[in-house]
Amino acid sequence: MNTITIECLRYHPESDAEPRFQSWPVPFTDDMSVLQGLQYIKDHLDGSLTFRWSCRMAICGSCGFVLNGVPKLGCETFLRDYYPGTLRVEPLSHFPIVRDLAIDQSDFLKKLESVKPYLINPDVPKKGTFIQTPGQMDEYYQYSKCINCLLCYAACPQYGLNSAFTGPAALALLHRYNADSRDAGKAERMPVVNAEDGVWGCTLVGYCSEVCPKGVDPARAVNQNKIESTKDYFFRFFRK
């Protein structure tokens, strides 16, 4: 069994003015994830280390960290890939740190609520379900795979520089519903798209799509909606 050095950012608000780093030697096997490494520290070396986790299989989106400078899910990243070097674990960038590796995601939750991430359609079919073709489903399917892990926000410098920016995941989920043939709520969501801090806050760095663990392409959703926003601006002259 090999031993890897894991260096974590620590921040205890009751005693620390600012974050600091602390390292531990962690024995690991080839099948151990970064999350399991952190659990080893918590169970055997320092019970005060704080981090979030739940499903251990890249579904819940709880264990997002910045690993050696790259936003990743701890549960699907292996310690062996960092050996023999040191693994530096930091909380997701651009969010306020609550304690150690746990961030405050309430800003994102407010933004998620603002995009109305649910089907809005008063005309529910009287019989059976909505009918949708595979082509119509293809318009939004990849965006529906978002697990709200916030890796894309940690990858987005525009969000870090201006936290009012709606950001990649919320805009991708907005697009997921606007692009759904069963939805009729686009007009309610367009003010979020059109706002100064909506899609126009994006400068297409594109790193959000690179780090997404579920193959979602938020940069595409945001930039497709720049076209929608432009159309919305000009077509308003033709509407009543």
Partner: protein, 119 residues
């Protein structure tokens, strides 16, 4: 609740991806300078043949050649990034991303070759 938000100073140095992004954005400065230099050439041309030849001679200086080499490298990089992100910025079309990217890059190569041959 007391929290700590880390400062953003020097964010673009933290990841190579951001460095490439900043290079893409900064390339516009060189491209602007190059465009202004061409405009200056036009201005010298309308002043007369001697002035135009003086402008051309000034382009042969080592400093000018170095500038052109950097500007060329940056415009090539900028063009590549432009076509690389093109599928994300286009309205949905029934073509795979790779075809949009290679189509764009091929168009640049063909047009550049035509300009070189015709001039």
């Amino acid at each position: 609740m007391k929290t700590y938000t880390r400062p953003m100073a020097g964010w673009w140095k933290r990841n190579p991806y951001y460095l490439w992004y900043m290079l893409r954005e900064a390339s516009c400065l060189f491209l602007t300078a190059y465009a202004l230099m061409l405009l200056w050439g036009l201005y010298r041309l309308q002043q007369g043949k001697i002035q135009y030849e003086q402008w051309r001679e000034s382009l042969a200086s080592p400093l000018s050649l170095a500038f052109h080499a950097i500007a060329l490298a940056l415009v090539l990089y900028h063009s590549w990034t432009w076509f690389k992100i093109m599928p994300k910025t286009l309205p949905r079309i029934p073509l795979p991303d790779w075809l949009v990217v290679t189509g764009g890059v091929s168009a640049v190569i063909v047009c550049s070759a035509l300009v070189l041959v015709l001039t």
